[in-house]
Amino acid sequence: MSIPSTDKPTRPLVGQAINRITGPVKVTGQARYTGEQTWANLVHGVLVGSTIAKGKVTGLDIQAAEAVPGVIGVMTHRNRPPVTAQPPPTQGGGGGTVVLPLSDTRIHYAGQPVALVLADTLENATYAASLVRVQYRAEAANTELSKGRVRAQPVEESKRRGNADAALATAPVRIDATYYLPIEHHNPIEPSGTVAIWEGDQLTVYEPTQWMKGLQQALSRSFNVPNENVHILTSYIGGAFGCKAFTWPHTLLAVAAARLVGRPVKLINTREHEYVAHGYRPEIVQHYQLGADPEGKLLALKVEVHASTAETDDFFTPQLIGMPAMFFSCPNVLAQGYTVPLDYGMPTAMRAPGEVEATFALSSVMDELAVKIGRDPLALHLLNYAEKDEDHNLPWSSKELRACYQVGAEQFDWSKRNHATSSMQDGRLRVGWGMGISAYPTHLSPSMAKVRYLADGQVLVQAATQDLGTEIYTIIAQVTADTLGIPLAQVSVELGDSSLPASVSTGGSRATASVLPAVLATARTLVQQLIALANTDPTGPLFGLKKDQLKGVNGRVVSIADPNKSDAYTELLKRCRLPYLEAFGEHLPPGMGATERSELMAGSRPSIGPEISGHISYAYGAVFVEVKIDPFVGQLHVTRVVGAYDGGRIINRKTADSQIRGGIIMGIGMACTEKTVTDHRLNRFVNNNLADYHIPVQADVPHMEVHFVDSIDKIVGPLGSKAVGELGINGVAGAICNAVYHATGKRIRSLPITPEKLFV
């Protein structure tokens, strides 16, 4: 997808607030997403999911479905073409699903596909799918975490320093609190889906994937064709938040079905199927114990986390124990995780997996301590500020959290807070102020890029990464335009095609810090190539000058000694009769080399972070929240949010600001409204739609202010960017619960904060 960019005059473009270059096509409906790809002879697929959570399919009647005019076939375990099982991501593979769909009659979770109906139109396929009749032999299943806890298994890695138990036993002040988080779903507005086309043994797949190189590799292995035969196209992605990062059943089935019927197949998940299609945030219980001195200095921190997983495989996000081990200065720490197997499909990463649950608990428990000893929670955060990473005993790569606290508190007017509970009112409404913390580790992966300078002055940048809507398109154009000294409008960016130079998955907030250094390196290489062309062209004004006597400035090669002597790139190429000049480049994070380069190209995900070059690198934030509550009927409004963030160098203030706001709003949803409801008798989700699963709507959104504190992290890379995408959601739920406590004296430890929890 090639997008011409718009212009902005001043330099450098990096650091400015710049309109997203995808704007014009997105606001006019011209941007084409996966479901909008049309092919001749297209077949529409509709999935039928299991209505039991565990057991066997004992009968499958597809006659009525097959009899519907327009139906081309029904794919079941009886006729599905071969698909090779892939290791799941927890075991180093790219397959999000552990259950290979339509392999046999065994049912592992409700919603597991049992048939795929294929027809000439969506209407016919949908109706026919309703006519598939399945008989099951159901077995006892369990989706209740409390019941499943007897089978909890400890996670291998734990966090341990000092002696937390001993320190707790003798601590003058102790807090013991357990925090509950329900299952949540990503719910991007664009459902996942696949358009699969086989031409011989060449496979083309349109899919809104967060990791096109990973999907390419997974499909190559699953369908036993060479990697280069698989072409992934990801034009635009309508939101993802983690659920589109790995390979899930609908994709494998669409590709298998296209092989079965010998025609292109389009399979777009229904919204209801989205809830069982590609993971969810698991249910999580965190038991926190704090020991502190009377001033609030931490002496001990003990954390026990139980997280639900699927019976079929373990899934545990290590940051659930990593965050409590790193965030505060504390001599005695013990953090242990446990997985609890339940009869669900596999959970997966959802925005800030591990971090957001932990920052909810950490923000809450620190407030509980502040209340207990009668101090300002902000003072406690500063008192327990970690000057180094005590978990790894390494220095931070950069840390401007103190500035975040300061800027956030100032902009919020935190100093005007009366710390007594129920002390602030607005008419009938109780007012509460609370604060929370945010941190997110820097992740770096190798990336490649190609930059092409055309003789007409247009520049094309290419990389096989993808844009979730965070607008990496624009920041690539900014870096390129700055490096080449050309207007932003001359730069086009092409992403979303697996045949382009290998680049990163969009997950773990790594894209900016990983891709931009590659673009920067490649653009610099291109400038060097232009210089080399200029001083070797005998007809040019700079012929014969040495390379180190020349530099690229504003679209020209210029003599350093005599700036009046210069050669415009466009003139240079025309004179040399070159239609374009292009450079291919890469950036490898510290410590990476040829092995990681080939891993990247093959579709694996070499990654480092938060430990980078002997430092620990995190992005940080502090968030301050005001709530107004009608305690009589339990109505809660978040009325004001101020956040201050250290994400390293901010490339585009406009799009970074929007990412943070989006995270904060998702945090408001987590605190106030979001919960996937399971019927634990039938072991099925029952609010599997956007009317009953409540993501925040416009009326839930408060006045918000986002501030970035200046920080350029020299350790993480040449641009100094850390992470932004998953920073904003952190700490919001904790800050809201703390504000609710401040307003009402009610400590909410179980989310979401539904009205009945607020009755006073």
């Binding site: 209505t51 209407e123 949908t126 109706y127 309703s130 209801e272 009608d630 009589f632 009927v633 339990g634 109505q635 409004h637 106030c672 409204t673 409801v677 399971t678 019927d679 634990h680 008798r681 039938l682 029952v686 609010n687 009317a691 009953d692 409540h694 925040p696 709507v697 416009q698 009326a699 839930d700 979401p752 539904t754 009205p755 009945e756 009755f759």
Partner: protein, 326 residues
Amino acid sequence: MKPFEYLKPSTLTQAIDIGRQPDGMFVAGATTTLDLMKYHVWQPNKLIDITGLPLRGISFKNSVLTLSALETMTAAAYHPAVMQHFRVISQSLLLAASQQIRNVATIGGNLLQRTRCPYYRDTSFRCNRRNPGSGCDAVLGANRNHAILGTSDQCIATHASDLCVALVALDAQVVIQGVAGERVVPLTQLYRLPGAAPEREYALLPGELITAVRVSASAATRSSTYLKVRDRNSYAFALSSAAVGLDVKRGVVKQAHVALGGVGTVPWKATLAETYLLGKPATREHFTEAARLAVTGAIPQKDNAFKIELVQRIIVQALDETATSR
């Protein structure tokens, strides 16, 4: 969706004639109909589009408001007479659904809005309302959103409408046209409690069409409030709601309207509360007692005992706001 034959009658007589046949279904705004047809909950062989019928217009004459069946929720909500004389109706409409839905959903259709019970809406669950005699998965299921009033062991599904709560509170009458001509009945009589036959939701005969709803204005309809508590601040069904209207003279209640939403299997007229309030001083103490009476006979389900408390608080607050806003 199952294939259907699309018919668009141009006269009421035609429509009723086609509608009498068992495999037909009327459709107007289509917001509920298409929703349930897509889930295969409803599978009519004939879809009878009644939007060509002359059932439009909102009038206010001799203190009687008439909302014709095909008027949209938006048109009714912003109509000057509705806003002035029937505040609770306007509020209930504007707190319902989304602007997009209100722009097409009709008054007639809203009176027949179906439950949001997830076990009704997914055909793979057991549901007596959808599939008589099959059982009810909601009773032992996730039932936080279900009813506490008017339930039976066959069905605990909540009536989903906001508008109907306001209309029932204000003693609206519904105008029904059928083969035998027109009949006018109190709106409360349109709704059937589930009892042993939850599939019989409405007291309508085959082919009968709702043509209008009528409400009389009074001091108590002008001084009225719809208070709705929901799980997010907009675009959500009521967890619980109350529609109230009060005529208070010299501090004493002369007339009272109270109905509840989100808690009943039908829009719940709180007659005991209304009767109790008559002649009583308009004080919080009496409002609290009225609220207690309003939930007489409430039976909580596994997950929704809080609704008994919540809806009482909503009633008290709505009465309080109404009494003090005059």
